[in-house]
Amino acid sequence: MPTQDKQPVSPDILLGILKATMPFQVVSDAMLRRIAAISWKVSYRAGDTLYEAGGPADDLYIVVSGKIDHELAPGVNARRPMKTLGEGDVFGWAALLEKVPNRLAKAVCTEDALVIRINGEELLKTFESDPDAGDVVMSRFATMITRDYTVPDLIAQLRGIHRKLHARDAQGMNVTLYRVSRWLKSPRPYLMLLGLSIFFGCWYLAVEVFKLPRFREMPGITTVVTEWLNPNPVFGLSLYTEEYYKHIAVSVWRVTQAFLLATALGVPLGLFLGWSKGVKDYLFPIFEMLRPIPILAWVPIAIVMFVATESAVIFLTFLASFFATALNTMLGVESIDESYTRAANCLGASKSQVFFHVIVPGALPFVFTGLQISVGVSWFSLVAAEMVSGQYGLGYVINTSYTMVRYPTIIIGMITLGAVGYVTSAMVRVAGDYMMQWRVRELALGAR
């Protein structure tokens, strides 16, 4: 790459040049001056190659005078790969792309040219120092790349200069991390800690300090914590025993099977209930009749139906989840604005296309609400089922500890149950965010 006389540029001259370009038009003078400090001017002769596709993408270029032919490599999928650049055009923007370390195009000077070169990394650092302004410039780059270079696929890779969350970057895990960081900055986690300590404090005071009448038989917090952290637990169950994890694993596995089964059957059923009047007329009355029956009432039937206790437990766990999932999915379908199905009809979608392109995605927010309820419900029906029958599992631990008068173990089982249940419902929420990017982005915009 021929580099002739790389010279610094006077800020005043550069200001004028940058203000005439599309991406930098809107930038404040103060920032332009900082950009001037990292800019160089370089001149080229006709016939010089500035860079080739595949070379390192280091600098961003701005044409001050002359003509440069810019040809995007075939792999980039530009609609119009050839472009002749003149005064005020900006190129070499691969230097600002996230996953692109190399040049995507070949740039050849066709008429003696003077260009400004700015190191991409340093430019990004400058933007990061003023994220609001940086963000504007980057979005103008996005527009320029789509419009002038006809490669819309790349704009997602323009590095975000975001202090706040901006919609373009709101993807899956990012959103979750963003929420966590916002949450930590708000007073909420500290209030939560305060709430928890008041709760545990009251427990401690009630049981161990004041020995209140109702709490006399209850294990105190110190007893529970000591037992939990004891390598040789008095009642046989603590963080150090293999048994403890076996119970957790068995319960988690049961809930997983029941939850997956409930989802696999409940979501399609709910979709059909909401979609087809006929299906609803047949099934909904039966559904509504079975739904209010509590899980415990199903226990005898479950034991009669399933000889093996394991399947009986899973069946009981499945039931409540299934109803929650199916009902919410049905409500989800019914909540879909009629305009969407009408619009799809207008646009020539067949009945099955309407189902897969409108009904299913449209119901998804409700489906995930249903799944969150479902996973919670599955935990409490699991415990009911495990208390009645089964070996192993957290419900079993709580029940046997009661009959065998191991009170601290009951509390250990309860707290573990709460924690594991919380984790599973958080997992469902994350899965929902992942599948409903559009909703996450809308909500993120609403929060701004």
Binding site: R79, S139, A142, T143, T146, R147, P152, I155, A156, A167, R168, D337, S339, Y340, R342, A343, A344, N345, C346, L347, G348, A349, S350, Q353, H357, V358, P361, G362, L364, M436, Q437, W438, R439, R441, E442, L445
Partner: protein
């Protein structure tokens, strides 16, 4: 009639003529029946912008729903280019991509990106492959000045931009008629004025017949070749006005003498119906 579509660049449009003949719509014919549309007759020429003006709840949307195929008519006949859409014998037409509706509250699918929304029609109809449809959608969006929002979701762009995308989505199907149901109702007046010019720009390129429902008289006269002022429920044309301001129009028209005259000429008729609608206590909608 200097507002004739035939005077537009690129020759006279030949398709999209709608004829509404003696259409009656009675809701709930069994019990307490309400007549929404009363022996309505209206002729819309191919490539014409026809504005339907009337107070809220007068039954304009019923007419649109009958053309689009969302609702049945009780009697009468609606034809499109001579073909019967619906009639007394076959009261409900089948919705199709030759008559695309742009809805009052917008109906871009929020779960699809703007680009995929625009590409939706041809993909569903199997006319284009996914890649071809996206390609076409990109260039149509670019033509309508909608660069930079292709990969956003509808919820991330302003309502004005959403409306334009929805119109482009409709045009992707090369429809004979665009049916617009108060599309700019929720927009502020500044955005509205931009949208009007954008719509006209799109119209000059595509010359599709436009059936445009509104309750805004200025909007109607500014955009339309023809303005049908409807009576309040039951709905039928009270007065049909031919707007003799030549197209292409721009915002200068609003201050022109002729525009003011036309407003004055029609204002009374519209006001009368609005008062009637108000007194009969029809609900908004």
């Amino acid at each position: 009639m200097s507002g004739q579509p035939g005077k537009l660049p690129g020759g006279a449009p030949t398709r999209g003529a709608i004829r509404i003949e003696d259409v009656v719509k009675i809701y709930d014919p069994g019990g307490a029946s309400v007549m929404a549309v009363d022996h309505c007759n209206l002729d819309i020429a191919a490539g014409e912008i026809c504005m339907i003006v009337g107070p809220s709840g007068c039954g304009k949307t019923t007419l649109l729903n009958a053309i689009a195929g969302f609702h049945e008519i009780t009697s009468g006949r609606i034809t499109l280019d001579g073909e019967v859409l619906c009639s007394t014998e076959r009261p409900k037409s089948t919705p199709g991509s030759d008559r695309v509706v742009v809805f009052q509250n917008g109906a871009l699918f929020p779960w699809k990106t703007n680009l995929d929304n625009v590409a939706f029609g041809p993909i569903m109809q199997g006319k284009l492959s996914k890649a071809e449809a996206r390609e076409k959608a990109l260039s149509m969006m670019a033509d309508a000045g909608l660069n930079g929002v292709e990969h956003n979701f509808p919820g991330e762009v302003s309502s004005g931009v959403r409306r334009r995308i929805e119109i482009v989505r409709a045009l992707m199907n090369d429809p004979k008629v665009l049916l617009l149901d108060e599309p700019y109702r929720a927009l502020d007046s500044l955005t509205k004025s931009v949208m009007h010019e954008a719509l006209l720009e799109i119209y000059y390129k595509n010359k599709v017949t436009i059936f445009f429902i509104t309750h805004d008289l200025e909007e109607a006269i500014f955009l339309g070749h023809k303005v049908a002022i409807m009576t309040s429920r039951p709905c039928k044309p009270k007065k049909i006005l031919t707007v003799d301001i030549p197209h292409p129009r721009d915002y200068g028209v609003l201050t022109s003498k002729r525009f003011r005259e036309l407003i004055e000429e029609t204002n009374e008729a519209v006001h009368e119906e609005a008062v009637k609608a108000f007194q009969s206590g029809e609900k908004e909608g």
